[in-house]
């Protein structure tokens, strides 16, 4: 969009360059941090293993949620509300499993071990 480029060229206030510099530094740092996990995934066999692991983690969460919901329905006779609620919870648990398997969220034990992030 032409408007945007005009605005960007016009925005030569003092501090913009400095802010951009800081941003690129932060980006570099973030890239460095995530670099090792990327190189781990280069091998296709590892990638295949990873894919199997992630999909099974996700599906397991949903299935367990569904099973619990069904059991709650049977026990309390509130069909289909148990299934609805627990399927949603199971979906959330599946996503949590997924993120944990991908090392994007710490394991419970590690998470409690860690100090809160600074800044």
């Amino acid at each position: 969009m032409p408007d945007q480029t005009n605005e960007r060229e016009g925005a030569d206030k003092p501090g913009t360059d400095e802010r951009l510099g800081r941003l690129s530094e932060a980006l570099d740092q973030a890239r460095e941090k995530s670099a090792p996990t990327k190189s781990q995934r280069t091998s296709s066999v590892r990638g295949y293993g990873q894919a199997m692991r992630l999909s099974s983690e996700f599906i397991a969460g949903i299935l367990v949620g569904a099973a619990l919901g069904w059991a709650v329905d049977q026990l309390l006779g509130i069909s289909p509300w148990g299934l609805i609620v627990f399927l949603i919870l199971g979906f959330a648990a599946g996503v949590l499993n997924l993120l944990r398997a991908a090392k994007m969220v710490d394991d419970p034990a590690v998470r409690l071990d860690k100090k809160p992030p600074q800044g």
Partner: protein, 250 residues
């Protein structure tokens, strides 16, 4: 149907046996489990019989396996975790040797049955629960309560954590079983193509080269998967044991 890709997973009774209405027959699956245990035990006994300062070839294979599993366990669960070394090492060797046995033609793959992998995963799950509650009592439940969560969110978060915890044995067992099952079916289907194509004459034989090459590649991949899945299973066992030892983090 010699080309039936599922045929290789059939369970056949070798010694029929029924106790009190329960079918306790000795099947081909049992036979290969016994063979796996016998081969693993026999190999390790033979390899460690010399106990030389300078290891022989066999001994260094056994030492390599030991170091591999011990390192994995130490990394995941700390030096406390080494108490569980026998469990993790047995699981790793059983699954690895069972998977590799499955690579022999006409052999039965024990890990391609969900009931076998589910039993292994439930063993790990039960161990984690027992050890967790024995060591920490009700403090083990801290595993489900992450710190720094606002109170009104807590019921939701705990429910999600509990479901996530309960889904572990499922994903743990299904992963191993599905990998082995899918790999063996694919292999059988591709080699089946080779046979049925090559019976079609010269053109068929020329066409059979492609699935044959694929089957060779898949066989190599299957060997890798056999090792990788044993590794993944043992690795996750280590991580779960870590949860049992340090539910609140130390």
């Amino acid at each position: 149907m010699s080309n039936d890709p599922i045929h290789q997973f059939h369970i056949n009774k070798i010694v029929p046996l029924e106790v009190g209405g329960l079918d306790l027959s000795f099947t081909n699956s049992s036979l290969f489990m016994v063979a796996t245990v016998a081969a693993t035990t026999g190999f390790l006994m033979l390899a460690t019989s010399g106990r030389g300062m300078v290891p022989t070839k066999l001994q260094s294979i056994a030492e390599l396996a030991y170091e591999f599993v011990a390192g994995m366990l130490r990394d995941a669960a700390g030096s406390h975790g080494l108490k569980f070394f026998p469990l993790v090492f047995s699981l790793f060797m059983f699954i690895l040797v069972g998977n590799l046995f499955g690579m022999f033609p006409y052999f039965f793959t024990i890990t391609s049955h969900l009931i076998v992998t589910a039993a292994l995963a439930l063993l790990v799950f039960g161990t984690v629960l027992a050890v967790g509650f024995m060591r920490h009592g009700l403090g083990f439940l801290k595993l489900f309560v992450p710190s720094g969560v606002p109170g009104w969110l807590l019921p939701l978060v705990v429910a999600i954590e509990v479901i996530s915890f309960l889904s572990r044995p499922l994903s743990h067992s299904v992963r191993l079983f599905a990998n082995m099952l899918a790999g063996h079916i694919t292999l059988k289907v591709f080699t089946g193509f080779v046979v049925s194509l090559s019976s079609l004459g010269v053109l068929g034989i020329a066409g059979a080269v492609l699935p044959l090459a694929l089957a060779v590649g898949l066989t190599a991949l299957e060997f890798l998967v056999a090792f990788l899945q044993a590794y993944v299973f043992a690795m996750l066992t280590c991580m779960y044991i870590n949860d049992a030892l340090h539910p609140g983090g130390h």
